[in-house]
Amino acid sequence: MSKKILFIEDEMKLHKVFEQVFKKEDFELISAYDGENGLRLAEEKYPDLILLDLILPKKHGFDVLDNLKKNPRLSNIPVIVLTNLEGPADIEKALSSGAQAYLIKTSYSMEEIMKKIKEFL
C-alpha cells in the first residue's frame, strides 16, 4: 500500500509541486490548506507522515503541532515542519514540541526534502 502523507500548507502551488513528486514516488498526498482542516484530516486519514507549515489560516502551526502530540492516537506520527520562519526560537519551540525535523523552505532542495521524508517513513 502506498504511504499517505498529509501536507498542511496554505499555498496551493506548493501542494502542486508535492503532488508531482509524490506521484512518481507512489506516495498518496492528502492536502489541507489550513490548520483546523489539517487536524481533522490527520484524525480521519491517519497519515504515515505530516508535513506542516507554521503560518497557517485558522490555526497556527504550533497549535496544530501541540494538538497532534497531545492526542495519544496521533502522537507517534512523525511531523516535519516545513516553513519559512527561521528564528532560532521557532526552531527550538517546534523541536521541543515534538517535531521530528525542521526544514526551511528556501534553503532545502526538493531532493533533500524527499530524503528527509523517506528517513521517517
Binding site: 499555498e11 502551488k13 497556527h60
Partner: protein
C-alpha cells in the same frame, strides 16, 4: 570651505524640504531657525519693554506668551521627528512583509526547478510541461508585486503618469474575471457581474484601472470564505460610472476601517494567518482613482462582507 558649505546647505531649508519631500512646517531646519529668531527677538523685546515700561506684570505676561509660543513650536518639532521615526519603522515592517511575500513563490519555483533539473528523476516524463507552466504563473505573480512596488514609489514621489483613453469598463471587468476564474474555482467561489445593457465608456488609463479592478477582485476572493460569492456591479451615476465589488468575507472592523486605505495596511491577523498580500494594493488603487478624477470608498458589515467601490468619469 567645505565645512561652511555643508552648514549653509543644512540651513537652506527650502532645498531641504524639497529634497525630503516634506512641508515647511514639518522641516526641523526651518523650525529650529524660526525658534532661534523668536528667542533672540524675544530677549531683545523683553529687555526693551522692561526698560521703557517698567511694569513687571506686563513683562511677565509677554514672557509667558513667548514661552507658550516656543512650547508649541517645540511640540511641532517633536511631532515631526515622531512622524519620521514612524515612517522608518513602517518601512522596516514593509521590508519584512515583502520579503516573506517573495519567499513563497520563490520556494515553489526553486523546488520546481529542482524537479526539472535533477538527475534522479523526481518527476514523471509527461509532467515537465505542467511544471513549466506553474513556474511561469508564479513568475507573473512576482512581476506583479514588483510593479506594484514601483507604482507605490511613483505615487509617493508625485510622479504618477496616467495615459487616459476611452474604454468600456464592462469589457475590462469581464476580461479580469475571466483571468481570475481559475483562482476563484480553487476556493469554490462564484463570480458574478451585473451591469445595465448599455454603459457609456469611461475616460481613464486602462492599464492602471485594470490593476485597480484586479486588486479589488483578488482581495474579494482571498477574504471570502470557501463557497462564497463575489459580485461585481456596474452602474451609471450622474456623470460617472460606479464599479463595486462585493464579497461575503469577514468584513472590516471599525478600528481597521480608518486605516484600510493607508500604506502597508493589512487586515488584523492577516500577517499571522494569511501569507498573501502586500498591503499596498488599496493604497495604490485609491491614488490611481483619485488621480483619474474619481472617488473610492467602501462599506462593510462585520461578519457579513464588504463592498469596495470606485467611480470614474464618463468619456465625453
Amino acid at each position: 570651505m567645505q565645512f561652511l558649505k555643508n552648514i549653509f546647505e543644512q540651513l537652506n531649508f527650502v532645498s531641504q524640504c524639497r529634497k525630503y519631500n516634506i512641508k515647511m512646517w514639518q522641516c526641523p531646519q526651518f523650525l529650529f531657525i524660526l525658534m532661534g529668531i523668536v528667542i533672540i527677538s524675544s530677549i531683545l523685546a523683553t529687555d526693551f519693554v522692561a526698560r521703557n515700561f517698567t511694569e513687571p506684570e506686563i513683562v511677565a505676561l509677554i514672557v509667558l506668551g513667548l514661552t507658550i509660543f516656543l512650547f508649541i513650536i517645540g511640540y511641532i518639532i517633536i511631532k515631526s521627528f515622531e512622524r519620521m521615526a514612524n515612517a522608518a519603522r513602517d518601512k522596516l515592517e514593509f521590508i519584512r512583509i515583502i520579503s516573506h511575500r517573495f519567499r513563497s513563490p520563490l520556494s515553489a519555483i526553486k523546488w520546481q526547478l529542482d524537479l526539472l533539473s535533477n538527475k534522479n528523476n523526481l518527476l514523471g516524463s509527461d509532467q515537465s510541461e505542467l511544471v513549466l507552466w506553474e513556474i511561469k504563473k508564479q513568475n507573473d505573480k512576482m512581476i506583479r508585486i514588483v510593479n506594484d512596488l514601483l507604482e507605490l514609489n511613483f505615487i509617493e514621489d508625485n510622479k504618477l503618469i496616467l495615459n487616459p483613453t476611452a474604454f468600456s469598463l464592462k469589457d475590462l471587468t469581464e476580461e479580469i474575471i475571466q483571468s481570475q476564474r481559475e483562482n476563484a474555482d480553487k476556493q469554490n467561489i462564484e463570480m458574478f457581474i451585473s451591469s445595465p445593457p448599455s454603459l457609456q465608456p469611461v475616460f481613464a488609463d486602462r492599464e492602471k484601472i485594470k490593476n485597480v479592478i484586479f486588486h479589488l477582485i483578488d482581495n474579494a476572493i482571498r477574504y471570502n470564505p470557501n463557497g462564497g460569492k463575489v459580485t461585481v456591479n456596474l452602474e451609471n451615476i450622474a456623470d460617472s460610472i460606479c464599479l463595486s465589488v462585493n464579497d461575503e468575507g469577514v468584513g472590516i472592523s471599525k478600528q481597521e476601517s480608518k486605516k484600510i486605505f493607508g500604506k502597508f495596511f493589512r487586515s488584523e491577523g492577516s500577517l499571522k494567518y494569511q501569507t498573501e498580500g502586500t498591503g499596498i494594493g488599496l493604497f495604490i488603487s485609491k491614488s490611481i482613482i483619485e488621480n483619474s478624477g474619481g472617488k473610492m470608498g467602501f462599506r462593510t458589515i462585520e461578519g457579513r462582507g464588504s463592498t469596495f467601490w470606485f467611480t470614474l468619469p464618463i468619456s465625453r
